[in-house]
């Protein structure tokens, strides 16, 4: 993985000093809250319902055991013993004190971590496929480019006060696990006929109040032009994006209102003016950074008889192996998904002890690498298949062995009104109750792949628009109501879910979800047809009837 050189270290140290000074000036009154707020947000610090919240960047979701241990230490020392992994592959602490954030940032800097641009109207943490560098279907490692973009976007003098936040995602495989089409810029690594690396570029995707799928602006952008083209897009957005209404300020609205052709022409004009200039990526530099992400020295495959035996003898292991392992490009290796969705748990939460357990496993069996997925799970990307039974045993002892990756209880949920100042309803307890309802392992297996995603307000941090079943919490007459959408998807065949009908109360919503799932199980065309496929085949009518009757 990427390692800081002396300049990176100097950069982050200086940033910590800068932010510490900003905190000092806020506490002394030199900065008003209005002036401080954009500055603290640019460093991931929110003021939520009960306390401040600090969002720490995990660039493209990659970290090592030392970093994970540091997160555990911070959770214990400055927080309440746990952290929350987010849909943007970051981690959040829910209870830090403002006057202790400089100390936290100093500790993070010790392990090459920071909170730069995890919030605010700037270019946010660049996300990538959580199986990057391991997946069997990968064209190139997206983290190389995510790292270059991360660096280039850090404290960008021109793009630190954009109309609104700006999110970039990259996928290196044809099967899009990074949801690139619902990002402000989505990059899909491709090779052209000459075998050169480049990107298909999408612009203007996003969720929130007005969900939109990104529009393609380039079939093939040469690798060398990545930064110049990104700068062109950002410049057009910074100049012309709306600033009169924060709900219309994302680039997707600019795309929509200007028209994709005209906007594309604007971008190309800016691009022409700067291409072949100082932003051109030299091949040697890309190669140098790529070397950081070189695959670890894989060991010889172990004794897979151990694995096969465990399938027969260890209770629960067969399910775990069926759901939580992903094919690896290296023979004898797999990627292991560590579910942060125990039945009835808060999605994405991990205790300090659990973080340490995962760190130990990564150090011992996983070439010291851990990933955070945008599904709010953790991943050990490089693990020998023969070691999986041993890993499973440790996970099971620590409440981390739920065999539900991709299943109905692998629910994405934002913090919602239990923590978030913007929320209109709770999300976590809805997720917990759904999880309990479907908790029986056989039932989950029988239902198969199903993504439920829950947001506590229209900001859609829980990505409900792209859930096969999406749930949006709203407030109606002082009560929590939940609107259900169906048919959303965030992979290479992205679609925005459609509202099925009137919402449900907090009490009713779990029954409604169960009703939908039962309906699907009854009408699916065999066990091989997933919820999404059934929905796409039959449309909303049977589901609507199930929920609201046939009037």
């Amino acid at each position: 993985m990427y390692r800081y050189d002396e300049f990176d270290r100097e950069f982050v140290d200086a940033r910590v000093a800068q932010f510490s000074d900003q905190v000092r000036r806020r506490l002394s009154g030199e900065l008003t809250e209005d002036q401080f707020k954009p500055l603290r947000l640019m460093n991931g610090l929110y003021l939520q319902l009960h306390a401040y919240m600090l969002r720490v960047a995990i660039p493209y979701g990659t970290l090592n055991s030392r970093q994970m241990r540091k997160l555990a230490e911070i959770a214990r020392k400055y927080d309440r013993g746990y952290g929350h992994f987010t849909t943007r592959q970051n981690v959040q602490f829910n209870w830090p004190r403002l006057d202790e954030t400089p100390a936290i940032l100093n500790e993070l800097a010790e392990v090459e971590m920071h909170a730069i641009q995890t919030s605010g109207n700037c270019i946010r943490n660049v996300t990538a496929d959580h199986f990057a560098g391991a997946a069997a279907d990968e064209i190139a490692d997206p983290r190389v480019y995510a790292e270059i973009l991360r660096q280039w976007s850090s404290l960008h003098p021109e793009f630190s006060f954009l109309p609104r936040k700006f999110k970039i995602a990259i996928t290196g495989a044809p099967h899009d696990r990074a949801a690139v089409q619902v990002h402000d810029i989505g990059l899909q690594l491709v090779r052209n006929e000459a075998g050169e690396t480049g990107f298909t570029v999408f612009v203007g995707g996003g969720l929130g109040r007005t969900p939109m799928i990104g529009r393609k602006v380039r079939d093939f952008l040469p690798e060398a032009d990545l930064l110049a083209y990104s700068e062109a897009i950002l410049r057009v957005y910074n100049l012309y994006g709306r600033r009169d209404n924060k709900y219309k300020a994302r680039i997707k609205i600019l795309v929509h209102e200007t028209g994709i052709e005209e906007l594309k022409a604007d971008i190309e004009r800016e691009f022409e003016a700067i291409r072949h200039g100082i932003l051109t990526l030299p091949k040697e530099e890309v190669d140098r950074i790529e070397a950081y992400f070189a695959a670890p020295e894989f060991a010889a495959p172990g004794d897979e008889a151990l694995f096969d035996a465990a399938l027969e003898t260890v209770p629960g292991f067969a399910n775990f192996a069926a759901r939580n392992l992903n094919a690896h490009r290296q023979a004898g290796y797999v990627s292991v998904t560590i579910s942060l969705k125990p039945i009835g748990g808060a999605p994405g939460d991990a205790t300090a002890e659990q973080m340490e357990v995962v760190a130990d496993l990564a150090a011992r069996y996983g070439h010291d690498e851990i990933r955070v997925s945008h599904e709010q799970n953790l991943v050990l990307p490089h693990v020998r298949k023969a070691d999986v039974p041993a890993i499973y045993k440790v996970l099971a002892e620590n409440g981390l062995a739920e065999a539900n990756a991709g299943l109905v209880t692998d629910i994405i949920a934002c913090p919602g009104m239990d923590y978030c100042a913007l929320a209109t309803a709770r999300s976590i307890p809805v997720a917990q109750r759904i999880s309990e309802r479907f908790g029986a392992s056989e039932r989950q297996q029988q239902i198969g792949d199903l993504k439920i995603k829950i947001s506590g307000c229209i900001n859609a941090c829980g990505h409900h628009h792209v859930g096969h079943i999406g749930i949006l919490g709203v407030e109606k007459k002082g009560k929590e109501y939940y609107q259900i959408t169906l048919g959303g998807s965030a992979d290479e065949s992205s679609s925005i879910g459609e509202i099925i009908g009137p919402g449900f109360s907090y009490e009713e919503v779990v029954d409604a979800v169960e009703n939908l799932v039962d309906t699907y199980v009854n009408i699916r065309d065999g066990e091989g047809e997933t919820f999404l496929e059934t929905y796409r085949r039959v449309g909303e009518t049977p589901f609507k009837e199930a929920l609201y009757g046939t009037q």
Binding site: L47, L49, H50, D99, D418, R426
Partner: protein
């Protein structure tokens, strides 16, 4: 009936305006505002406190009396007064239990 609430600048703790312009950490200690005038005066005190870097973003909330206790009308404010509904071991509700024990 109203109260004025805010978050403390230094640590983000939820506070309410109590007697004599003091910020208090539990809702039952808060100063009940029975009229528009009292509310305006309390908000002015709160603004002065903002200027002294004590709290941020003060605002008034509606409360009702239920079984002799004050209770915020909005659910959001109930959660602020207690803590996360999913973690009864955290937030003010946890302290209450501790002190009861």
């Amino acid at each position: 009936m109203k109260l004025v609430t805010a978050n403390r600048l230094s640590d983000g703790e939820v506070v309410w305006l109590g007697a004599a312009g003091r910020w208090v950490e539990t809702l039952f200690e808060a100063r009940l505002l029975e009229s528009r005038e009292e509310e305006a005066a309390a908000l002015a005190e709160a603004d002065a406190s903002v200027a002294r870097q004590e709290v941020v973003e003060p605002y008034a909330i509606d409360v009702i009396r239920e079984e002799g206790h004050l209770k915020p009308v909005r659910f959001r404010e109930q959660i602020r007064a207690a803590g996360p509904t999913i973690r009864l071991d955290l937030g003010k509700q946890a302290r209450r239990q501790e002190s009861a024990a």
